[in-house]
């Protein structure tokens, strides 16, 4: 029995190693030229777009949340318009290690471009390096990765600007430059959320010294229900609370729900980053004052469009007009692309959007 086990195990290892060696030879012989030429991709892809075009992989932080679903449809649309194969795939949880594995599998698939929205910029660093070594074009979108590594960085907005913008909007909604506010966040370890919160805090410190943040940022597990409960608790323990700044897409909804149910629409202002369709019921009665975000579909579209340019050896220019997106800004470093200013969704305009 033992022998058989050993033999089986050895065979399994051997098959693996042999297969590896064999494939290594063939792989190394054509992989280089393949990627340079940007031609021929291995068959059988289930992605959108043309049969023989470029393979562009777009990796979100996770699949299966509305925000990234919206950007998926934009990316797929771009694939159809621009006749490239778009492979939109990511982990089911916002887990850095799972994301690395997805990227590794994409490298195995030998795609031409990988655009990643890293859960943790540092953790994708080694695997992006590996991708580059394989001749794959590497870019980031939504959340920046290591600047040195990526060929292109696509950003919806400027983080600093976005954070400060939300802070200003909150003060505007409160109608006073003094009072207590609380900050809700999706998760304590989300890098871009932390950047926004820092920027917002800076804005408060520098321009609104009368604003007092009552507690450390409060995590809501990216769940509306948790944001709702935490806000209820906040409203009780800080009866003088004037405003709530909620970053991450479910958080403003939960906060607004709590305000709505307590009937505090006029006393407490809520401002946060949320999609307009989700926010509509709360914007309606003023429980959510302003939702600040961008069109994630456009962001997906832009990512694919820029990915195609990158693979074809072009670089975007400042002020360039991208079809389907609009005018973009390119920063001094030549590779950071900003899609545009943040969009404010309010009672008046929320109905005009379909995302």
């Amino acid at each position: 029995m033992k022998k058989l086990t050993m033999i089986l195990f050895a065979a399994l290892l051997l098959v693996g190693i042999l297969a590896g060696c064999v494939a290594e030879n063939s792989g190394s012989s054509d992989s280089g030229g393949d990627a340079e030429a940007g031609g021929e991709s291995e068959g059988e892809s289930v992605q959108a777009g043309g049969e023989d075009g470029l393979d562009i992989a777009v990796v979100p932080k996770l699949v299966g949340i509305p925000y990234f679903n919206a950007s998926e449809s934009g990316a797929i649309e771009a694939g159809e318009d621009l006749e490239v194969n778009v492979n939109y795939t990511g982990p089911t949880q916002a887990d850095a290690s799972a994301q690395v594995k997805v990227i590794e599998d994409l490298i195995s698939k030998n795609v031409d471009v990988i655009a990643v929205a890293p859960n943790d910029p540092a953790s994708v660093e080694p695997v992006l390096k590996k991708a580059k070594e394989q001749g794959i074009h590497v870019m980031d979108w939504d959340t920046p990765a290591d600047k040195e590594l990526v060929d292109l960085s696509v950003k919806q907005v400027d983080d600093e600007e976005f954070g400060r913008h939300m802070a200003k909007k909150l003060v505007e909604a409160m109608g006073t430059e003094e009072g207590e506010i609380a900050i809700l966040t999706g998760g304590l370890s989300a890098a871009n959320l932390n950047l926004w919160i820092e920027a917002a805090q800076k804005e408060f410190d520098e321009n609104y010294p009368g604003i007092e943040i009552v507690s450390e940022k409060i995590p809501t597990e990216e769940k509306q229900q948790v944001a709702y409960q935490k806000t209820l608790d906040l409203l009780k323990s800080y009866p003088d609370l004037k405003g709530v700044l909620a970053v991450s897409t479910p958080a403003p909804l939960g906060a607004a729900q709590a305000v709505q149910e307590e009937g505090l629409q006029d006393e407490v202002s809520v401002v946060g980053s949320a999609l307009p369709t989700d926010s509509a019921p709360f914007l309606e009665d003023g429980s959510l004052d302003t939702a600040v975000l961008w069109d994630p579909g456009k962001l997906g579209y832009l990512t694919v469009a820029l990915g195609k340019m990158l693979a074809e050896g072009e670089m975007p220019e400042d002020g360039q007009e991208i079809e389907g997106v609009g005018e973009i800004t390119v920063k001094e470093d030549g590779k950071t692309v900003i899609m545009g200013p943040p969009a404010d969704f309010t009672k008046e305009n929320a109905a005009d959007f379909d995302f």
Partner: protein, 320 residues
């Protein structure tokens, strides 16, 4: 010839491998084989740790947070300018401290492991949050990143070699040492081991310490590979590692479980995860397939046991 549970599982692993080699494009490419070898060790080590605990009839729900805390230990050292070796030592010490705490409450106070580790899971998570404030610690030295990303002799990923070494060590410890034997005996009947002069509490303590050591090794590979650590490092491996151990033939009630079975199970998981990704399956379907395999294999065991019993009864009837 009758096949052992483990050999059948080995055949299933082989079949999965061959099937995917045929249907999944790029499955056999050197790149892909390599990336599988890079991906497997961190999960494999956690699964082995879980298996050792399950053999005693327990379970360690805190194991992934032990790994994360140990990773935090390493990261703190590295980012504060200490070398690789001190970082590794601190990582292991952090993990052993957690393991000792679990071991103390389980073996000395006698609370059932599932309750203890349910509590310590939250506790360790809290400690990490308190240390890191939820953000990630990243940016380690080039040398450190070689542990998880480098090649041994330029051929095989170093991490898979580390995994193989620890798998072999675990196998030897379990089957060739008095501690290992005691672990199995304790898992089968803890009263009998007590009445045989076995120091049950010491055996258990060592089990939790060893599991946390494996978690630390896994943490070192993960932190090196991902160049960062935060509170959820490896947390998705928790229930998966239980699934792998059980699929590998480990008896959830204790007393039985082999390293080789768990290794096969980990390989099956790896092949499927990777193969389905290559085939462009939605990631959530991977979970569905793994869940289905777990239930199918155990149902198969049940029916084959049943047939065996029927056959034995028939034979006995004939003999009489």
């Amino acid at each position: 010839m009758k096949l052992s549970k483990e050999s059948v599982l080995g055949l299933i692993a082989l079949a999965t491998f061959l099937l995917l080699a045929v249907i999944a494009p790029g499955f056999l490419s050197s790149n892909n084989i390599n990336s599988m070898m890079f991906q497997l060790p961190e999960f494999g080590l956690i699964a082995l740790a879980m298996m050792v605990v399950i053999v005693t009839g327990g379970i360690d729900l805190s194991i992934t947070y032990i790994a994360a805390l140990s990773g935090v230990g390493a990261a703190l050292m590295l980012t504060n300018g200490y070398g690789i070796l001190p970082a590794i030592i601190v990582a292991i010490l952090f993990a052993l401290a957690c393991g000792a705490f679990n071991g103390f409450v389980v073996s000395k106070i006698g609370v059932s492991p599932i309750l203890v580790t349910l509590g310590t899971m939250v506790l360790f998570e809290g400690i990490i949050l308190a240390i890191t404030k939820g953000s990630s610690i990243s940016g380690f030295s080039e040398g450190y990143s070689l542990i998880g990303n480098g090649y041994y002799l330029g051929l095989v990923p170093l991490s898979i070699v580390i995994f193989a070494v620890f798998a072999i060590i675990t196998a030897i410890l379990l089957s060739k040492t008095s501690w290992g034997r005691s672990v199995y005996m304790y898992g089968s009947n803890e009263t009998a081991t007590l009445f045989s002069g076995v120091k049950n509490s010491r055996v258990l303590m060592k089990v939790y310490l060893y599991a946390s050591l494996l978690a630390a090794i896994s943490a070192i590979i993960m932190t090196s590979r991902y160049n960062s650590v935060k509170v959820d490092l490896g947390s998705s491996y928790l229930l998966q590692s239980v699934a792998a151990a059980v699929l590998g033939g480990t008896n959830i009630h204790g007393g039985y479980g082999k390293v080789i079975g768990t290794v096969y199970a980990v390989m099956i998981f790896q092949f499927i995860r990777n193969g389905l990704n290559l085939l462009g399956f939605h990631s959530s379907l991977v979970d569905v397939v793994i869940g289905a395999i777990l239930i199918l294999v155990l149902a198969m065991n049940f029916f084959s046991d049943k047939f065996k019993k029927i056959a034995e009864t028939k034979n006995a009837g004939k003999a009489a």
